[in-house]
Amino acid sequence: QVPVLRPMDLMVEATPRRVFANAHTYHINSISVNSDYETYMSADDLRINLWNFEITNQSFNIVDIKPANMEELTEVITAAEFHPHHCNTFVYSSSKGTIRLCDMRTSALCDRHAKFFEEPEDPSNRSFFSEIISSISDVKFSHSGRYIMTRDYLTVKVWDLNMENRPIETYQVHDYLRSKLCSLYENDCIFDKFECVWNGSDSVIMTGSYNNFFRMFDRNTKRDVTLEASRENSKPRAILKPRKVCVGGKRRKDEISVDSLDFSKKILHTAWHPSENIIAVAATNNLYIFQDK
């Protein structure tokens, strides 16, 4: 029988073009493409490796914090990213709320940091959960390369690369959860890892929260807004209505009380177009794309 050509619908199938294998022992938490567009790095809980795109069977280990005796392990790597312009510079964050900036020119193994960012602990807010909520879930350079932003459980912080002892800005994402930390520890929500993003001009930062809420902070006007990504509350092309969480006292009509929040609806991943005001928000199994009117 002669084969016959049959027209079919377009099928899109993702297949790996290259596989870079066997270099990580622990869960990979970050990958970051270098500004040279030749190399990239991958980070797991204890190590960071540098790869060349063309070489799939070999990588260079550039950070290793695994202790000789695993009983002494008290801190892990949580996120890492290359500087947007300086291809020798990168940062990585830790579960103890610290950020290290490293320069690959100083040594092959970047165990010694060039800069160390840590905010002193606030003694008035100290609890058994202090360390857990200080664990940084995401670190992002600003597009300018002058600042880094970090996300921990309750806040987003902006750091100036020239000032290591404290952030220059701190934004409260959902401070009303501070009195609920024990319950959130019990149901494991306290270990949720939220990401954070800059807009193209580094003037606005965005991060996710619970109940399908996500938050934007304008660094210049100091105004912030809470929006919701859900089918019920938005039709295509409708303008999103700002949301508000009621923290106590009388609940207004449109407000939602803290106890009514749905902690299974968490927005962990968001993205902002590098130059336009278009954002992508991942809410469980739905992807929302919003744009400025």
Binding site: N22, F128, E186, D188
Partner: protein, 249 residues
Amino acid sequence: MFVRGLKRKCFDGEEDIEGTLAGIKAIPSYNLQRQSLLDMSLVKLQLCHMLVEPNLCRSVLIANTVRQIQEEMTQDGTWQMINTPSTGQASLDRLVSTDILCRSSREQAEGKHVPGYSTFNKDFEGDQAQDSSENMSTTSSVQPPRNLQSNVWEMENPQENKGNFQKSLDQIFETLENKSPNSVEDLFSEVDNSYYDLDTMLTGMMSNTKMGHCDGLETFSSPPTTTSNSNCKSDLNELDHIVEILVES
């Protein structure tokens, strides 16, 4: 989540009714909350290594929390230290380490390292791809450490039994340092094998519909009489069988 049976009234402000009473009652309430947080954390850690691929970051954070609670308990004297005749380590060294909390009892008994996430003190780069598939299934069926089970059991009377808990921890340390079968035998010889395993305890917690703190503790403290009876019964049956054989011969 299985932990629903545990006390919810931790440090959460609105729910802490006791804390609003004048000074005298505030202190025991804090100790009770701290204790239940410690219990909860230890249970979480046990479940950590029962997973096929435990989350290392989570385990480390929970272990650090446990250490922090233990340090505070040591400082304000609720944690009784027993002086062991051994090496003269600083008291903080006896506190629970991440590795100990996340090891399985089978590993301790067999003295071998199971590749994969069940232990994170073995450098298994290169091995992992080959070994992980065969060993992951073993890891998931391993029982949680008996030592910690008996310790959780002893949490019902924290004041009295802290000494026992501490002693067990010291023995764990010695076992891991020596890694000889004899010391492991010693370690298990003091553990009462009639204690229920973790599954039964968790089942008890899940069926416990009340949320109060006392109920949570009760679940820890009430022994599963059925299990111990069935152990006795099987022993008796065996004995009968042996007697039968002797009589017949």
